[in-house]
């Protein structure tokens, strides 16, 4: 399994390099309205001669061998500036420390119900967040703590929701899986696997309807990718050219089931092929690769070309939720990813190697983050329980 994972990452890198050459000449394309894109496509269908006005459509018609996966998948990994490296480091570390704390507090009985940790996958949300702008929206499933921290939601409010306190984002009524911040563009936090995919499609529809250039990131897992509504959404999104990036977080497992035991086509970047949605496989442990791919995908959507699929090759270090001892995989498998591919260690190593930061500076960052997390933990522990009258607020009567 691990070998497959590593190969997946390597293949993603390779593909990246190869294809960046192949598509260099169609990297930029003018923004266009859906109407013109659509009519362009119709023209192409009518007469196979490529229409220069729509290179994407032209390529679809002209080169049947080029799958959309291949088409979409090129975003050269660019070096980060010192500021970018440090920002990514900080954000990923915040998520890591937050999740470790949540795990501890769950162990102490302060958190009940489900608690799905994001440890190991930090580079995905942090890299994607670096690729979007204010006004863009994010929606995901139940493994949502990292997404909320990355989008700038308050660690205190998130942790207090986990402990079921009145200071939580949903006053304790939502719990770990269900939190929202419309202000920050975070639309949840959904417990039903796959639901967020169509919801994200609808958010993108609203962007298109309003004529703004915002993009929605709809995150879901490798397991969720086998839900029917995912494909209903893909079809609709491409048909209507909706600005949604489907970010598939392939962490190799859906609960206790490894990807290959559940998926006939385990290359999720190809899941949009029959809908003509471009897709790319990305090394989701390298925040730079995530940002580069995210940037490309988001631009594609912003310019009115329709949806985009990004398959993030990543890995969750912990069990599916806090109650899962993860006996379906070996300790060695986890250890190998941790030591060889850890997303945070990668940045740390680069920062030090390139003398962009000293051990001391990094220690200080770590200290600052621990402080933020400890304060959040204190808040989430001391904050009062919700008033019983909250049972009757925000209910439909």
């Amino acid at each position: 399994m691990l070998a497959i994972w590593v190969m997946g990452c390597l293949a993603a890198r390779e593909a990246l390099r190869e294809r960046s050459m192949a598509v260099a000449n169609r990297k930029t394309r003018p923004a266009k309205s859906s109407v013109s894109a659509k009519s362009a496509r119709r023209d192409v269908a009518a007469k196979p001669a490529a229409k220069p006005a729509d290179k994407h459509a032209a390529m679809r018609a002209a080169t049947p061998a080029a799958t959309p996966a291949a088409k979409g998948s090129v975003a050269p990994v660019l070096a980060f500036s010192r500021e970018q490296e440090l920002a990514a480091y900080r954000q990923m570390l915040l998520i890591r420390r937050f999740e470790e704390k949540a795990g501890q507090m769950y162990g102490m009985g302060l958190i009940g119900g489900f608690c799905h940790l994001y440890i190991g996958q930090e580079a995905v949300v942090v890299g994607m967040q670096m690729a979007i702008k204010a006004g863009d929206q994010v929606i995901t499933g139940y493994r949502d703590h990292g997404h909320m921290l990355a989008i700038g939601m308050d660690a205190k409010g998130v942790l207090a929701e986990l402990t079921g306190r009145r200071g939580g984002y949903s006053k304790g009524k939502g719990g770990s899986m269900h939190m929202f911040s419309v202000e920050k563009g975070f639309f949840g936090g959904h417990g039903i696997v796959g639901a967020q995919v169509s919801l994200g499609t609808g958010i993108a529809f609203a962007n298109r309807y309003r004529g703004n250039d915002n993009v929605c990131l709809a995150y879901f897992g490798d397991g969720a990718a086998n839900q029917g509504q995912v494909y209903e959404s893909f079809n609709m999104a491409e048909l209507w050219k909706l600005p949604v990036v489907y970010v598939i977080e392939n962490n190799r497992y859906a609960m206790g089931t490894a990807v290959t035991r559940a998926s006939a086509q385990a290359d999720f970047s190809k899941r949009g092929v029959s809908f003509n949605i471009p897709g790319a496989k990305v090394d989701g442990m390298d925040v730079r690769a995530v940002m580069a791919a995210g940037d490309k995908a988001v631009r594609w959507c912003r310019e009115g070309n329709g949806p985009y699929i990004l398959e993030m090759m990543t890995y969750r270090y912990r069990g599916h939720s806090m109650s899962d001892p993860a006996k379906y995989r070996s300790r060695e498998e986890v250890e190998k990813v941790r030591t060889e591919h850890d997303p945070i260690e990668q940045v740390r190593a680069r920062l030090l190697a390139r003398k962009m930061a000293s051990e001391d500076e990094l220690r200080k960052i770590d200290g600052d983050i621990r402080k933020v997390v400890n304060e959040a933990a204190e808040f989430a522990t001391d904050n009062k329980e919700p008033d019983p009258s909250e049972l009757w607020t925000d209910v439909v009567r």
């Binding site: 119900g113 009524k173 719990g175 269900h178 417990g191």
Partner: protein, 326 residues
Amino acid sequence: MAELTYRDAVTRAIAQEMSRDPDVIFFGEDVAKPGGVFKTTVGLYEQFGPRRVRDTPISEQAILGAAMGAAMTGLKPIAEIMFSDFFAVCFDYIANEFPKSRYMSNGQLKCPLVVRTANGAGSRFGAQHSQSVENWAMMIPGLKVVAPSTPRDVIGLMAAAVRDPDPVIFFEHKSLYATKGEVPDGEIVDTLGSAKIVRPGKDATILALALMVPRALDAATRLKREHDIDCEVIDVRSLVPLDTRAILGSVARTHRVFTVEENPRLCGWGAEIVSIIADEAFYDLDGPPVRITTPHIPLPAADTLEDLVLPTPDRIVETVRRSLSA
């Protein structure tokens, strides 16, 4: 006799039926190799092999559709939907396909399948993983609906469900999985549509289902001890078919009836039973039927709030006492 957990009773029930009939197959998400997220099906994969016990992708529609497809040809699938809340994801099969096939095909098609699912609250899972949706199933003509409260009944009712020629929705309760009970050795087979008087009494009838049964029993003990009120507790067990004879018989003896329901109040199963009682036993009643339910609101995640919404022994005691002294 052996003491068994409700959880292990599920495994034993499925094993009992699979050993008996090679047409019984079992599949669902994480049920085979991992043994179920609630560890209710540990060992079945090892015992019956990958041909008969399968892990599926997270594809509820395909799970139920395939179960019905196989059932139409005579296989007897047991399909697991991990949480009953997810019925909403695959409701077409539950509402339009299973229950109508026999009727629409002029009796040619049968749908001998069982959908088992983890129902109910108590685990702080919040609004999308804690619901009691037995009333969703009960409302559809063409389905049978059971919800056992003890390990013994898990086995007996599962056997009855598997052997039944019609689709049966089998609600297990998450908060009962760890509970234990005596289970006789050998094969256990019950009949669908039979309620059980789990505590005889003369002053009032309390009707309960699943997790509410132990709570009703607890309340009945306290009502007797603290208030000298002698309640008869009936475990309804099967909502469709419904054992109206047992229910009406009890009401005729006690003249008062209370329902204890975990489903939300509006259109809960007790509403239907109370309506039947009003129709058929109105003059047996000495007072209005009273429903003790979860309020008609989504379920909160926070433990303090969740504990407030489900009917508790305290609430049952208080309600019964007040109603009888009024």
